[in-house]
Structure formats: C-alpha cells, structure tokens
C-alpha cells in the first residue's frame, strides 16, 4: 500500500528526480574537508532560532510598558520558558560564532573564486543580516543593557555624513530611543529580517548546490586522488551527528547558564559600570573607546573608525570582485595576509575589551576542536577512484 501511495505521490511531485539528483551529489575529500561542515552548522542554529523564536512570540509583548514584564513572566512562571529563551540567546551567539568561522574558512580557502562570487556575497549579506538579528533582538527584553546598546548603536548610525540623521531617526522611530524604537525593532526582528534572510539563504543554498563545493587550490591534487564522499548518506550523517552534538551543547549551556534578564530599562539612569555589548561587537566597542574626542574638517574623530568599519564591511562583500588574482592564479598572498591582520586585530581588541585572554583561549580551543572533528570525519584513505 505504501508503494502504491509512493507511486501516486511520485507521479504528481516527481520526487524520484530529486532523489536521483541527490544521490549523485558528492563532497570532495581532502585535508580541509572539515570546513565544509561549518555552513551546515550555522544553518542548524538558524533553524533553532526560527523554532524557539516562534515559541517566544507566544508570550512576548512588544511595548515599553510590558516587554520587560512579559520576558520576566516567561522566565519565571511559564514552564520551560527560561529554557526556550536561554536556548534562543545561546543559539544566537553560536550562530554568529559559526557564521564567522564559516566566513573565515571560506576566505582563506579562497572559495570565493570564480564562479562563486555571488555565493560569497550572499553569504556576507547573510552574516550582516545575522548581526542585524542580534542587534534588533537585543533590545526586545527592554532591560538596561538593551537600552544603552541601542542608544549607542543607533547613535553610531547618526555619525555617517549626510544620511546619518535620517538613518538615526529611521532606526529609532523618532529622535530618542523609546517605546517606538521597540516596536520597530520587533517588526524587523520577527518579520522584515526573517523575510529577507529566507530569500538570501535560499539563494545561498541553491548556489552551493549548483556550483558544488569549492576545493582550495592547495588541496586540488589531494582531492583528485581521493574518492569524493557521497552526500547521502555519508556527508549528511556526519552533518547530522554534528547537529545532535550541537543540540546537546546548546541544552547544556542553556541549563547551566540561563540567560540573564537584568534590570528593566530606565530612561533616566546612568549607564552601569562595565557595560559592554555582545562579544561580536566588542572589537568595535573597544576601538571607539580608544579614539579621543576632537574634530577634523567638520568630522568628529569617532566618525573615522565608524566609517572605516563600514567601508571594511563593504570591502568584505566585494572581496571576490577585488581579488581577481585568486581566480586567475589560485593564490593571492596579499589578501591572505590582510585577512590574518584583520583576525589578529579583532581578537586582540576583543581581549583588550574584556581585559582578559579568554577570547584567545576560545580561538585555540576552537582550532583544536576543528582538528579533532576533521580527524573523526575524515574520508577513507584509499587512492584513486
């Protein structure tokens, strides 16, 4: 009976064509293959965000008078409310973390070479969207930290010449951070950003399917010699075990370190001591702290790093179009060195911002874990096909 139902469905949906296509999909095997799992990991955390985000919407109330109380209610009264919110917060952080890891690995493997320029650009766009999710979601609990982070973040937009003032008012929904800002951020966080992200994500995933995995120039020979891994079931099962492991880590983090709620936003209270944004903004935050007050040619000093970071963001988006050499020769040492310099800057500034070496340790631990995962997931060593 199942066979008959299957046939009926297949006649109408053409599933066997898809299955046939999927069965041919392979993943190149070489010593850097482990990096192919990072994008899938980011996708997993994104799916967790969608799922937990929908659940949070059942209790959350987006208004200045009720937002904090509704999250407090969720955390203290609603059964497992604390768990859902903590998973949402932890998963958000891990999603940013893995998106960044994915970006770093793709950058250094030069996977953005022709014909994958648009895959890269859509990926960078997705990272910016993720950061937009992080920034807008941050305000929603309406606590002190959220209030000041939003004040500073939106004021930064106001620094941009010519369009700054409009951007600031557009973001805040008025001149000041208020309940109106909360409504706007909520709208972006649950409707506008998810809609845009879905489209860009589908494009990104489709391009990965169409163009296949990029093999880094340094591993081309090795990849030719070794048998590629079938996506179904070998790669997909490895992906899946990673996801299950990630889910376990997520549950443990949420249970052991439930996300704090802090104090309700007070529009008339000084910023508290050691106030700091999320870790992924700390390098910019620390840079801003170091720039002294002053003005040059009508431009305040603080605008300089802000505009510079903006320009670097645009540069990141355009890397494949600027680094033509990588597509031509498979190598571009200058761009690799620039990437290393940027990484050192970000890690060093983050360490400085926290006045701790923890960020550096996390870099080391991540490297070791990636090597371990590379070892576990390695394909068979047989030569030739």
């Amino acid at each position: 009976m199942f066979a008959k139902a299957g046939k009926w469905l297949d006649d109408r949906l053409g599933l066997s064509t898809l299955i046939e296509l999927g069965s041919h999909k392979t993943v190149p095997v070489h010593r850097y293959s482990v990096f192919y799992y990072l994008g899938g990991m980011t996708l997993f955390f994104f799916l967790v965000q969608v799922f937990t985000g929908v659940l949070l919407m059942l209790y959350y109330r987006p208004s200045a008078n009720e937002a904090f109380e509704s999250v407090e209610f969720l955390m203290t009264v609603v059964p497992f409310g604390w768990l859902i919110r903590s998973i949402h917060s932890w998963s958000a952080n891990l999603m940013v973390f893995f998106a960044v890891l994915h970006l770093i690995s793709v950058y250094f493997m030069k996977a953005y070479r022709a014909p994958r320029e648009i895959t890269w650009a859509s990926g960078v766009l997705l990272l910016f969207l993720i950061l937009g999710f992080g920034f807008s979601g941050y305000l929603l609990p309406w606590n002190q930290l959220a209030f000041f982070a939003t004040k500073v973040g939106t004021d930064i937009a106001g620094v941009v010449p010519f369009v700054g003032e409009w951007m600031l008012r557009f973001l805040r929904g008025g001149d000041r951070v208020s309940g109106g800002t909360l409504s706007r951020f909520y709208g972006w966080h649950v409707a506008v950003l998810p809609a845009i992200t879905t489209v860009v994500l589908l494009l990104h995933l489709a391009l990965v399917q169409v163009k296949g995995m990029s093999v880094p120039p340094a591993a081309e020979e090795e990849s030719r010699k070794r048998t590629p891994m079938k996506f179904f079931p070998h790669f997909a099962l490895r992906d899946l075990s990673g996801w299950i492991f990630a889910l376990g880590v997520l549950a443990a983090l949420a249970a052991l370190f439930p996300w704090e709620l802090g104090e309700k936003a007070d529009l008339f209270a000084p910023a508290y001591e050691n106030i700091r944004p999320e870790w992924y903004f700390v390098f910019m935050f620390q840079t801003l702290k170091l720039v002294p007050g002053g003005e040059i040619l009508g431009l305040e000093y603080e605008a300089i790093p802000i505009l510079l970071f903006g320009a670097l963001g645009a540069l990141l988006l355009l890397v494949p179009f600027l680094d033509r050499r990588a597509s031509r020769d498979g190598k571009s040492v200058g761009w690799s060195l620039a990437g290393v310099a940027a990484l050192i800057f970000v890690v060093a500034m983050t360490c400085w911002g926290y006045a701790s070496l923890l960020p550096l340790y996390i870099v080391f631990i991540t490297t070791i874990l990636l090597m371990l995962f590379a070892f576990i997931t390695r394909g068979r060593r047989e030569e030739g096909r």
Partner: protein, 153 residues
C-alpha cells in the same frame, strides 16, 4: 534608419512602457519612504523643573541624581554642601547617560570611558564636546535651602 522599419516603434514602446513602470514604482516608493521616516513631533519646551528636595536620599547617598528635564536627562550633582551643579546627562560621545564619581571628582560615562570635570568640560576619553550646563537655584524655606530648581542657563 528607415522610418518604416519596426525598430524605432519597438524602441518607443519599450521606452514608453519602461518609463510608465518607473513612474509607477516611484509612486509606490515615495509614500513608503515617507511612511518609514518617523514624523517630527515638537517636544514641549521645558525651561525649568523641580529637582526635588535638598535632603533627597539619592542625592545625599550618591552625590548626584538624574532629573527628568522634559524628555531629556539632566544630571544634578552636589559638589559640596552648598555647591549644586547641573548639566545635560547625555554623553556627547554616543548618547549614553553619564554619572558622577564624587571620589574622583569627575563626571564619568560608563559606556566608553568619557570623562568630564565638574564644569562639564570634556577632559579625557572620547567625548568631543562639553556637557551643556544648566542653572541650579535653591529655594529657601525660612533661612535654610529646601528645594532645588533646575533651569536652562
């Protein structure tokens, strides 16, 4: 080109349809653009506020408090027993709210470490401009000062 050839006619139609579509898009985009730009709501100008009692426990305890001056936060600090000062509490750097540190006799912003002296001048850290000063008046009750009134300088 021959006037009877279909090409100019096609070009004309393409141009005509294209500009119609462009105009239609503009009529959609303009209202949306205006809609997402928040309207400017004039705030009632506040010129003077009652900043509370001289013996306010917060003021006594911390040496300062943040006063609501309309929608604007203003910091009222007690430099000495008889010396009260008030400044805009909005850090001129990136819009955080400053506090007073009596032990270090400075106004300090916890966000990015901006420092102001007790005259509101930006002395170190990122702030580009001084804090706007406000006037403090003490209303006496009998011979003792009782109430603090903050007004625009």
């Amino acid at each position: 080109m021959d006037a009877n050839s279909p090409q100019p006619r096609r070009t004309f139609i393409n141009w005509f349809l294209g500009s119609t579509l462009g105009a239609a898009a503009a009529t959609f985009i303009y209202p949306i653009f205006r809609y997402v730009s928040p309207p400017r709501i004039p705030e009632a100008t506040t010129n003077q506020v009652d900043a509370g009692d001289v013996n306010d426990p917060v003021l006594k305890d911390k040496g300062f408090k943040i006063v609501r001056f309309g929608a604007e936060p203003v910091i009222l600090l007690k430099a000495s027993d008889t010396d009260y000062r008030a400044f805009s509490a909005t850090c001129t750097h990136l819009d955080c709210i400053v506090g007073y540190q009596p032990d270090r006799t400075r106004i300090y912003c916890n966000c990015h470490g901006g420092c102001y002296d007790l005259n509101g001048r930006n002395v170190s850290g990122p702030p580009p401009k001084p804090l706007t000063a406000f006037k403090v008046n003490l209303v006496t009750k009998g011979s003792e000062p009782a109430k603090i009134v903050v007004s625009r300088a």
